[in-house]
């Protein structure tokens, strides 16, 4: 009986020691923690932010949306394009997207199929309805204008984490929202129109608020701002309005998004060359 008590005492004692050790360990960890954060380089932090933003957008499966693109030149003359976009999330690789043009009427029925890849060039096909022809196009040079807008192909494509290297610059309040300021550098330096992109990312929700584009001569080329964020399916944030200003030619392009729908049942079959021919 006594022995037994001694044993329980011993057990209690060892348990207490263990608890103390755990506590000490935790304390140690806490004291080291700030050191750990400092040990993370700004490159690692930048990439971690991009990865977290990407992680938070995972699992949407597919989405559809309508887009009105308004081009405006420096004299204030406007022209609009009506576009529909379908996107399919691809596990382990970049998204697939199908873009269908409704307006101007002469390009009605033209459709653009893009397979984004995390590494290497994207696969792109264009459907020309007058000839019923699907044409493979080169995606190597990413700086070309998308539909005469101030958006380049590399701006509208899926922004895969692997397509850039990163550097966290600072934290900043942007338009009243706490944000990370992260610089991105295109991996494919030779074929991108940019030397770097400075991105303001919302600290709480990890969506982009602003992007400043610097061309290969280090001149500030364009600024893109995102407004009107809405949350879909309780977790996916999408901006309603994007404004791109080209500081060098004075032109702007406004994207107005509407009718966002998620998990509509689209499959890989809806993103093939065959489906490109049927797209309406």
């Amino acid at each position: 009986m006594k022995k037994e008590r001694q044993f329980t005492n011993y057990k209690r004692w060892t348990a207490r020691v263990r608890q103390t050790r755990l506590l000490l360990f935790l304390l140690l960890c806490l004291s080291i923690a700030p050191v750990c954060v400092h040990a993370e380089t700004s490159e690692e932090k930048g990439r971690a932010i991009a990865k977290e933003a990407d992680r938070r957008d995972e699992g949407f499966h597919d989405s559809t949306a309508d887009l009105i693109m308004t081009l405006r030149n420096r004299h204030g003359q406007e022209s609009t394009r009506n576009i529909r976009v379908r996107t399919l999330e691809v596990a382990g690789d970049g998204d697939k997207s199908l873009t269908i043009f409704d307006n101007p009427r002469d390009v009605k029925g033209t459709a653009f199929l893009n397979y984004t890849h995390k590494i290497g060039d994207d696969d792109q096909w264009l459907y020309l309805p007058a000839l019923k022809r699907v044409k493979r196009i080169s995606s190597r040079n990413k700086s070309g204008s998308f539909m005469g807008s101030e958006f380049a192909y590399e701006d509208i494509g899926s922004q895969e984490v692997e397509k850039y290297t990163y550097k966290w610059i600072r934290d900043e309040i942007f338009n009243g929202q706490e944000s990370f300021v992260v610089e991105r550098y295109p991996v494919d330096k030779k074929n991108s129109g940019y030397i770097r992109l400075v991105t303001w990312i919302d600290k709480e929700e990890y969506f982009p608020l602003k992007v400043e584009y610097f061309d290969r001569k280090e001149y500030h080329l364009k600024t893109l701002t995102f407004t009107g964020y809405k949350k879909y399916l309780g977790k996916y944030w999408r901006s309603d309005e994007m404004n791109m200003i080209n500081h060098q030619n004075g032109k702007t392009t406004k994207l107005l998004w509407s009718n966002y729908e998620f998990q509509t049942g689209l499959t890989g079959n809806d993103f093939t060359k065959s489906s490109l021919k049927r797209a309406r």
């Binding site: 081009l71 030149n73 003359q77 022209s79 609009t80 307006n103 101007p104 009427r105 002469d106 390009v107 009605k108 029925g109 060039d121 696969d123 000839l131 019923k132 022809r133 044409k135 493979r136 196009i137 080169s138 995606s139 190597r140 040079n141 700086s143 070309g144 204008s145 539909m147 005469g148 380049a152 129109g193 061309d215 030619n249 079959n269 093939t272 060359k273 065959s274 049927r278 309406r280």
Partner: protein
């Protein structure tokens, strides 16, 4: 460019008044039907969709016509509405009639059902029934392997305009590519410019006297099967066609009055075709090839080339592309196409402005003779609904006996104003 038979004097002008009146009526019917359905569809907001275009075109020639009977310049109007309906399950119906009225050439005044088809969309296959259009090929200047649809040659000499082809097409997409099966129950004859038309050979092709090898004539049932796939940077397709060839052999015949005419002969052929394209950086490399039996001696023909793009040239926003192609036909001078051993070089300039201004210029050079021609295509949007295009064609050099020799006085510019709805 291929050599052409002995010189023949032009035909006597034939009155085509009745035909012109018929096409005027059809044209009017399309316009009326389109207008009525347009107002109806816009007010009733049915699930039917109406789009299309109507266009006015002027063709101005720099020189007087070479052959008797030809008019100098031409003006024409054309309309092509498109009625479309899609059901919830993705199946759809499409009706696209087309009509043109031409001031100069009664053969160019014509009506066609470009498409009238039902598409039955299933999870694992697509079935198209009706009149439809299918394009196969990869090169820009020559469309060698494209065979399903007949060329509507009176529309343009570039061979890109096609007549609607009645068909049953089963398309089976799978993990290892797409298999397309075709049953083509009715044959469409190629259109040729008439007596008064420019851009024709010296002897008018009498399309009313077309001859067939098949005793079923235009009711011969043609078959085709094509397998196509995309693997990495490569897109390719291989097919076999069995039936009446789309490309006629032109035969010299004399009519009862003793006048020489040319009639098209449509032979039964077997043709295996291949088209391959790969993308390597800024390069697109292309190859089309075919092997045909049943039209004279068996032969190979091929066209290969490249397209190289310079994007955002000097940060100007402009895209500039270079195109180079070489076409070869084993038959040489006996070829039923223009391209027997020719090189094409072209440049495409896209301004990437709000008006989508684009210019394409190309040079055709025959490697067996001095024959050389230049073409220019340009276009610009005026508003959401209007577009203007300007095309030009010049024969720089031609030698006796060449097809191009018959077109040597046909240098022209063509201005088109199109309203899209």
């Amino acid at each position: 460019m291929k050599q052409q038979g002995s010189e023949v004097r032009g035909q006597e002008p034939v009155s085509r008044y009745r035909e012109t009146r018929r096409y005027s009526l059809q044209f009017l019917i399309i316009v009326l039907a389109t207008t009525i359905s347009y107002s109806f569809l816009t007010t009733q907001s049915l699930a039917w969709e109406l789009s299309g275009y109507t266009t006015a075109e002027g063709r101005l020639f720099f020189h007087d016509a070479l052959f008797s009977g030809q008019r100098r310049d031409g003006a024409s109007i054309a309309v092509q509405p498109e009625f479309y309906h899609e059901w919830e399950n993705g199946s759809s119906f499409l009706f696209t009639p087309f009509g043109r009225l031409d001031s100069a050439d009664s053969e160019r005044s014509h009506f066609d059902i470009r498409e009238l088809r039902y598409l039955w969309l299933h999870d694992s296959w697509e079935l198209r029934i009706g009149s439809a259009k299918v394009f196969w090929g990869v090169t820009e200047f020559v469309h060698l392997v494209d065979i399903i649809n007949q060329t509507d040659l009176v529309e343009d000499i570039d061979g890109e305009d096609k007549l609607g082809q009645p068909m049953v097409n089963l398309s089976i997409p799978g993990q290892y590519g797409v298999l397309d099966l075709f049953v083509l129950p009715y044959f469409r004859e190629r259109t040729f410019p008439g007596e008064k038309g420019r851009l024709r050979s010296r002897v008018v092709v009498d399309t009313d006297k077309a001859e067939y090898e098949s005793s079923a004539e235009e009711y011969n049932v043609d078959l085709a099967a094509r397998y196509s796939n995309t693997i990495g940077d490569w897109d390719f397709g291989i097919y076999h066609f069995h039936g009446t060839g789309r490309e006629p052999t032109l035969l010299l015949r004399s009519d009862p009055a003793g006048n020489l005419t040319v009639v098209p002969l449509y032979e039964r052929i077997d043709q295996t075709g291949l088209d391959v394209q790969t993308v390597k950086g800024n390069w697109l490399l292309k190859l089309e090839s075919l092997y045909r039996t049943g039209q004279g001696e068996d032969f190979y023909a091929g066209v290969g080339g490249f397209e190289y793009s310079f994007v955002n040239v000097l940060s100007s926003g402009l895209d500039f592309g270079l195109i180079g192609e070489w076409a070869y036909d084993e038959r040489g001078d006996e070829a039923t196409t223009v391209f027997d051993n020719d090189v094409m070089a072209g440049a495409r300039l896209a301004f990437n402005d709000a008006a989508s201004t684009e210019v394409l210029a190309g040079v055709f050079q025959d490697l067996d003779s001095d024959s050389c021609a230049v073409l220019l295509e340009s276009g610009r949007r005026i508003s959401d609904h209007w577009k203007v295009t300007l095309d030009a064609f010049f024969v720089l050099e031609s030698s006796e006996g060449d097809i191009l020799h018959d077109l040597r006085e046909d240098d022209n510019v063509q201005i088109e104003l199109t309203y899209y709805f």
